[in-house]
Symmetry: C2
Subunit: 347 residues, 2 copies
């Protein structure tokens, strides 16, 4: 593979001059520039990004550590992140933590070793202190979606409190009274916040949330299934279940169906996170939709700010309730196709 020396030789200039035209440095004569450009084309030369990074101390690379690539929410987030990053001239390396703290640590460490310019994290876990160390060492970091209390880093996330309250109203209006929730891991902010929001909304409306109606999940389908099975085995099972993410909703639906029960006839079901498939499940599932794409883009912009040495503020965008039929309501009359299906943001 041709190196900068080959190009210099071919163009009859020094490597310094080649480097200057490569980096659009102004002080290069038109003649020299032309010869270099021709040599680059002739040799099909491509600068070695590794060498360049070592010299300039920047990799033009961002790290993104997400909790689960198989979750459509994170996949949509990752896509938006990559798009905005590309627009700003960055590549992004995704690390999939699979909701496993050790794997998360592995990825953070690897990313740091590779000297990424900045790190975007949706932490699975408060972690081993690795993140705190990185912050202290000056690595630009911003949290997206989930965050770690106590780690002083900007966070870009959705606020689901309003939407959760809307959901509770919706459920009560439809006559449900025994409302249960399948929570995410308490170690994650989204795990605890969603339960808190649900519990608070219930209390404000004079409804209790017994412990037996709080299922402990881990944001994976299998845990949703188990939690739902436990609910259904109760002497007095809930008449509505709210799953704190889409995968646990999938598992719950599976468990309910396996028991021969129907949604929403026997039990209502709703989920946090909206995904295209919810339009076509049986029945279509009422969900709380996050502004995922905006979150991803805003997080990248905030990280770019941090890299530039500025201190971007945290940002919270509202989530919203999308009513479908899984809680018993007829779909709103003005929505012939309840929700637009997966559409690209570009043509």
């Amino acid at each position: 593979m041709a190196g900068i020396k080959d190009v210099a030789a071919e163009a009859g200039v020094s490597v310094a001059t080649v480097s200057r035209v490569l980096n659009d440095h102004p002080s290069v004569s038109p003649a020299a520039r032309a010869r270099v450009v021709a040599a680059v084309a002739a040799l099909d030369y491509r600068p070695n990004a590794v060498a360049r990074s070592l010299r300039t101390d920047q990799t033009r690379t961002l790290g993104l550590v997400i909790s689960d690539v198989l979750n459509p929410y994170f996949t949509a987030l990752a896509r938006a992140v990559e798009e905005e990053a590309r627009a700003l001239g960055y590549s992004v390396i995704i690390g999939n933590a699979d909701e496993r703290p050790e794997l998360q640590d592995h990825h953070v460490r690897t990313l740091l070793d590779r000297r990424i310019d900045g790190l975007l994290m949706s932490p699975t876990d408060p972690g081993s202190g690795l993140m705190a160390d990185a912050v202290r060492a000056g690595t630009p970091i911003v949290f997206v979606d989930r965050w770690v209390p106590g780690v002083e880093v900007p966070v870009v996330r959705a606020d689901g409190r309003g939407a959760v309250a809307d959901l509770v109203d919706h459920l009560l209006r439809l006559g449900h009274r025994r409302l249960a929730i399948i929570a995410g891991p308490a170690a994650t902010t989204t795990g605890s916040e969603r339960v808190d929001a649900f519990r608070d909304a219930l209390r404000e409306r004079g409804v209790a949330l017994p412990d037996a109606y709080i299922g402990q999940g881990d944001f994976q389908a299998e845990s949703g299934r188990r939690a739902a099975e436990r609910f259904l085995a109760l002497p007095e099972p809930p008449d509505a279940v709210f799953a704190a993410d889409n995968l646990m909703a999938l598992g719950a639906l599976d468990a309910i169906r396996a028991r021969g029960l129907s949604v929403p006839g026997d039990i209502a079901l709703a989920a946090f996170d909206d995904i295209p498939w919810f339009v076509h499940t049986d029945p279509p599932i009422t969900a709380i939709a996050q502004p995922t794409e905006e979150l991803g883009r805003a997080a990248v912009r905030a990280l770019a700010e941090r890299i530039a040495g500025r201190v971007p503020p945290s940002l919270t965008l509202p989530a919203r309730l999308v009513v479908r039929r899984s809680c018993g309501a007829p779909p709103p009359a003005d929505q012939p196709h309840p929700q637009p299906i997966a559409r690209r943001s570009d043509p």
Copy 2:
């Protein structure tokens, strides 16, 4: 951030010795090793992977270019790839081509510039010759799922011919006679192969496949919707539609529903690629399942072979038909939950 020199100073040895213990070189005295280990811990030293890569000319990084991250099939593939790669000591950088040739080129160029050790591709497009150039230049490459004819590279993929024939039999047995297909882009191998397999299976069974029954899609939901709308507007619409991927099936389902028609009552629907949600759509969708995880792992192993200078053979694994209710058949009696839902492969 501490460098190797700081460690050397702290341990009272040369950087060469530090490097040796870092790389587990045998000829280091136990005493020196101990001092270095202590210094590394004291300074919280982590070797700079960029510098190491420049020196050793290997990045221990694999590139993976997929066609669409929002497609659960590719997301599952990417996860398997990352897992196997990690087991072999590699990181993987994913590039999402979004089914756009220019984006695909952008990613392979970026990956090449970063001097990845090898490239795994599921090409969106035969491409601009970039891949052929890379092969000629000696970059280890292997194709997964899709490939480019004429580019001499090992390919790891699934063979759907048998499963497609099984599907056609299934459809005919249920009384469907006007079978249509929503194809992927003809520029992709999976786009053309699936139509060919379908057409051949029909011909062998004496059934014609009129041009009007071949919808042209692009593997995106929206194109599936449009193709289905066109089918339904035909004087004699098909009574069964086979979508060549899961996203187009989603779009088709949307279009059929919007028209007030029912599946399978009015029209049967099947898809290539099985995903967890198909169990819970209304109705559950009959699909052709690929051994996705095996494909991802096998592809990484093949790439590692190539990197090691060997020439791994291409590999083709069979896909299989998973019957559910979208074509009109009752679910097999021995399958209470038709398919296991999304389960992790690890505990």
